[in-house]
Amino acid sequence: MVKKLKKLVVVSVVLSVLISNISIAASGSAVVYYQNNIGHGHVNRVCTLLKEMGYSVGNTVVTKQTFLNSLNSKKIVHNISHGTDTGGLCLSDATLYPSDITDSCSSLKFVLLESCWSSAPARQIYILGASCAVGFDQTVTAGTDNDGIHLYSSYLFGYAKTNNIKDSAAYAMSTLYNTSGYYYGSNSSVVYGGNTTIY
């Protein structure tokens, strides 16, 4: 009986070590949306970062309905578009307002809304079940396709490979400031559900 007990303990410990060392890569579908009237030179870089985390990634110009559909079919959504001071996202065919988002977003792990005044739609998506959402309370700016708020997004996804979103947002913000001397509005970022990890 003692032998059996010993055997049980040994096997338990070995199993616990084995199981705890298994690392499960992120999987699922991610998408990066953009508009042609806005700088999107960093789209490929963000896609690469997401692929490195294990996601299958697509990128395209997005309509309102496609965007809404993706909120309950994708794991990660990153949207780059103009925003309005009433919380609207200016998509290719129409402006999407927070009140337009009504269906569950519970399958969505993370959404980054790279637009001015996007904290309201981010909040709505979070309330409807997304694990994490990031938007901005004020205007966000950029000088080229690759700097300013676009660079912030790249930094955020880069850091998110090994950190939770809250830390990644903080690192991205401070890195942007210390590489550029300006926050470009990223200091108005609002992070909902920041303890989420996407790696």
């Binding site: 809250k166 210390n178 001397g181 992070v191």
Partner: protein
């Protein structure tokens, strides 16, 4: 019997994992934050060994091209690195103790200033003045410390991000400026803010032939005019709303952030609302 052993082993494994995770989780979180910060600082230090001195990079062009997301752009660093790293560990240990006692650590502007004066004294020294501004996020506070000489920024800044929930340090990065260069500047030779704005509007029009007219406005709280220093350049930072009228008569409301060298009047950067 074998089935019982297998089932018992799996159950035991999960119990061990759960108990271990429960007890280690909190301390691992703190350790992880500490290690992450240390790794970042180490990488910065490695970059610093091969880097240029402040001001060598050309302003403006440094903002273009295919940026990497890594920390390779941390080229402007605090010199007393050892002191800073020891400061980080001091923060973590003390933070843990305060948390256990139910208190908070970096929970106010005063606490941040005190921390940086105690840890960074040799860095922010002499006749310089440490200024503090902050912006509130949902659950993080961003503190920007700026070193000045004779009322002009030296380019030395620190960006400190603190968790508003528990006072934990989230990120701290530094840029090293050049106090001697700034001390030699004569502010009476700076271009006026009116001239700077005129230059900004002219350049915006020059870059987009479709623009017929721009009416700037500094009325909103997010707008402003101030002199800053970064990467060896001292410049006017003009942040303003604008109504842009295009040649076809259409109008558009937008926001610009323009940096203009205070001495030469060169437009260093025009950033526009996304």
């Amino acid at each position: 019997m074998k089935k019982k052993i297998i089932a018992g082993s799996i159950l035991g494994a999960f119990i061990i994992m759960s108990l271990t995770g429960f007890y280690l989780n909190r301390s691992m979180q703190i350790q992880r934050q500490c290690i992450n910060t240390l790794h970042r600082i180490s990488r910065e230090y490695a970059d610093y060994q091969n880097t240029v001195t402040a001001g060598d990079e050309q302003f403006g062009t440094a903002f273009e091209g295919d940026y990497e997301y890594t920390d390779s752009y941390y080229t402007y660093l605090v010199e007393p690195l050892d002191q800073f790293v020891s400061g980080i560990f001091h923060i973590s240990q003390e933070n843990e103790e305060k948390e256990r006692a139910g208190g908070f650590f970096l929970d106010s502007q005063e606490a941040v200033v005190e921390l940086f004066e105690s840890n960074m004294g040799p860095f922010l020294k002499g006749t310089t003045v440490c200024e503090l501004s902050s912006d509130a996020g949902q659950d993080m506070k961003i503190y920007t410390l700026t070193e000045t000489v004779n009322g002009i920024e030296t380019g030395t800044t620190a960006c400190i991000i603190v968790d508003d929930d528990n006072g934990m340090l989230r990120a701290a990065t530094f840029v090293k400026g050049d106090p001697e260069q700034v001390a030699g500047m004569d502010s009476s030779e700076f271009i006026s803010e009116e001239t700077a704005l005129e230059l900004a509007l002219t350049e915006i029009k020059a870059r987009d032939a479709g623009i017929a007219d721009i009416q700037p406005s500094f009325d909103n709280s997010w707008c402003g005019k101030a002199i800053h220093t970064f990467k060896g350049r001292t410049y006017w930072m003009l942040e303003f709303d604008a109504v842009v009228t295009f040649a076809d008569g259409t109008k558009e409301e937008t926001f610009y952030a323009v940096r203009i060298d205070v001495v030469s009047g060169e437009v260093l950067e025009i950033a526009e609302m996304v």
